[in-house]
Amino acid sequence: MASRSSTNPPAPRSQANRLEAAATADTTAAPGVLLVAPGRPWMTLRRREMLAGYVFISPWIVGYLALQLGPVLASLLLSLTAYNIVEPPQFVGTRNYVTAFTNDDLFWPSLRRSLYYVALDVPVGILLSLLLALLLNQRLRGTNLFRTLFFLPSVTPTVAAIFFWVWIMQPDWGLLNWTLSLVGVRGPAWLGSIEWAIPSLVTIDLWTAVGGTRMVIFLAGLQGIPRELYEAAAIDGAGAWRRFRHVTLPMLTPTIFFVTVLTVIFALRVFTSAYIATGGGPAYATWFYTFHLFKQAFQFFSMGYASALGWILMVVLLAFTFVQFRLQSRWVHYEGERQS
């Protein structure tokens, strides 16, 4: 596999030093500006930018350290205990992990269900979001209206949207089956059907998510593609499809990659719709991995075991992400990089 490097390779060190020196040279004289020691200046341009960057992300860092890192580490320790939250945790070593892999009837099926959900939700969701972004990128009259309409479901409160769809998918008097009956089709029980329950939840997610943040990211990616590339392609005689195939798509691959990684992560976390619409049923049909984790933690109060499930999921997610990163060099094109 060919490795890639930047088409604008970093300047030689001597040149870089000269640039840094140039950037800081006059600061010694400017009033109110940090004075630097003769020789190598401490507050270089790069350091200033780095400092500014840290200042900008500091709210997130503080929040992460204060509110998330502690529970994360605590859950790692709790995963090695039997802990019902009322009594103190008891150390059990790796028993929870062994139980998950060997003695929990719901562990593997729930993981499979989550993966099935991902397999349905991610490709269709990304494709539809991309299609919507392409439509909005046409700069036609009424684009702003359509952008708002597409985005609207994603700002609808999740619970309200799910209840809305539960009614639509109601098998006996729901709008969906009624519509199908008009064309002579007898619809399934949707959320009440073992076979259709997960596709139904995928449908609900697609309705709420395709026009949301994912579409906006794609739209930003599309609008970041230089117009000159399209002009050059047009001059070379490329039609709309070829421009899309050979300009848009390659230039958008970093965005597609980014969106894919995040969508997989979010899809594997599927929980809310199952919690509200199906309660994990019928007959465990929507008993997803995170649902299993939640039940263990917050209804059966097996907090130690639930923590172990959380860390197993963490490993699964890391594995997924690692594989995607390994594969990205085969299809992701970064502007400004070239093959060496």
Partner: protein, 473 residues
């Protein structure tokens, strides 16, 4: 030095996303639920001598709890944890009436939102953090037994004996349900005989020229009635359903099992019993409603309230709260009776009793006990009967003229007389067992498993739960 590339940025962003997710998942839970601190060991019970001693606490023998003398407790404020909604409103009403007799005891209702699951999560966290109220409303299915077995509640045997509380004023099964491992953890607040009510739309019976059920029908007669009341379109699809049974373990098919003479679980709470012939017969009767007769809507997909309200359902199983929902119905011609009697000669009534146990950490035991007694008394029972959907645990309330005049409530008195205590697993994993059984049973209602297959699977899955150690771990 090279500035962070886009690839690098995306890599870091995605990895941080995974890391953050891991954190969220590892600490997975409702957004508003804090991660609990490790629980302190539950404090040892305070010696009775530590509690403020009322000057004249003695209660006369056989005097109802509500008639306890007033002014015996030093001024205190009691914290009472309960659920928002009608229940909280009714507890407010009770507190007002109570304070007329006991002005020195202030009741601070701390009501928490959420359905059962969310409410009991909250209570578990409060107990874990040692910050629960002096009194805590608890459901028999959710956490009453589990917490009692962990010494979270105060045993009241001594208080009952001291006040010579006449336990015969409540249903015996309800009193029995208040005991865990030989200790009594409260008086029964309210009870209901599970899903033994049968409500019906009188208009649909009139249209079909059929006589409504009277509580004496057999299961076969009931199924036949449901068939006759089901109306179908030309394509065979039901437009009006004859009957909507309840399918749950504690609220639903469990009552049918009991009516057929089966057991929901062994008497010692350690063995599954779904291989009993009576259980299989009961489940076959229910499965036929869905799969063979097709007189019932697909479980889990129909909001029964919608069907009732719109006159699309002729009969439905419900509990004592059934008539409460009648306010939403367009039709006024409705009635209520009891579900069929089975081979056992009974309705299959199983008691569910909720309580307001006193926290073992309470520093106001005497005051809490006074309010606890009041909430289980006849005057409080009248407030419950007239203002909410589960009227007390008292025969004198369920059999009162006012209850008999309530057509939605009156039939349940007969069910309560025969009701057996809720059969509970020896390890108190009630909800875990219920959820597992309900999920597996879905295969039967949807026609994906036969009774043979489903009973074997329920026994297998249920036994795994019964074999777990007591409580969660």
């Amino acid at each position: 030095m090279q500035i962070l590339s886009r690839r690098g940025f995306l890599s870091i962003a995605a990895l941080l996303g995974v890391g953050t997710l891991g954190g969220v998942m590892a600490a997975c839970g409702p957004a508003a639920t804090p991660t609990p601190a490790p629980a302190k060991p539950v404090e040892a019970p305070k010696p009775a001598a530590e509690a403020p001693k009322p000057a004249a606490e003695a209660t006369k023998p056989s005097v109802p709890a509500a008639a306890a003398p007033s002014g015996a407790v030093a001024p205190v404020t009691l914290r009472f944890n309960n659920r928002t909604g009608r229940e909280a409103e009714i507890f407010d009403e009770m507190a007002k009436v109570f304070r007329e007799k006991r002005p020195n005891i202030e009741i601070k209702n701390e009501s928490f939102p959420g359905a059962n699951q969310e409410y009991f999560q909250k209570m578990a966290l409060l107990v874990a953090g040692g910050t629960e109220g002096d009194l805590v409303w608890m459901s028999s299915i959710e956490g009453f037994y589990d917490f009692a077995s962990r010494n979270a509640w105060l045993p009241v045997d001594d208080l009952v004996a001291k006040d010579k509380v006449e336990l015969g004023q409540w249903y015996k099964a309800a009193v029995d349900m208040m005991s865990v491992e030989g200790k009594m953890y409260g008086l029964p607040l309210w009870s209901h005989p599970s899903i033994t009510g049968l409500f019906y739309n009188g208009d649909l019976f009139d249209q079909a020229k059929l006589k409504p059920p009277d509580g004496q029908q057999s299961f076969e007669q009931h199924a036949e009635l449901a068939r006759q009341l089901t109306k179908r379109a030309a394509d065979g699809k039901a437009e009006v359903f004859g009957f909507n049974p309840a399918t749950g373990y504690y609220n639903g098919h469990g009552q049918v099992i009991l009516a057929f003479g089966g057991e929901m679980i062994s008497k010692d709470g350690k063995q599954m019993t779904y291989d009993q012939p009576a259980v299989r017969e009961a489940l076959q009767w229910m499965a036929d409603l869905y799969v063979k007769h097709k007189v019932a809507p697909v479980p889990g997909t129909d909001d029964a309230g919608q069907l009732q309200a719109n006159g699309k359902l002729a009969m439905w199983a419900s509990g004592v709260w059934g008539s409460w929902a009648s306010k939403q119905w367009k039709f006024t011609n409705w009635g209520a009776t009891l579900t069929p009697k089975g081979k056992s000669g009974k309705y299959g009534a199983m008691l569910q009793t909720d309580a307001n146990p006193i926290s073992k950490r309470s520093k106001n035991v005497d005051a809490a006990w006074e309010f606890h007694k009041f909430m289980c008394s006849e005057p409080a029972g009248k407030i419950l009967r007239d203002g909410t959907y589960v009227p007390s645990s008292r025969p004198d309330i369920y059999e009162s003229p006012e209850a008999k005049a309530n057509k939605g409530l009156a039939p349940f008195a007969a069910a309560l007389r025969e009701a057996v205590p809720l059969p509970k697993p020896a390890n108190y994993r009630l909800r875990e067992l219920e959820i597992a059984i309900n999920q597996v049973m879905g295969n039967l209602w949807l026609g994906k498993m036969t009774v043979d297959e489903v009973t074997k699977e329920v026994n297998r899955v249920g036994q795994q739960i019964l074999d777990k150690p007591a409580g969660a771990a």
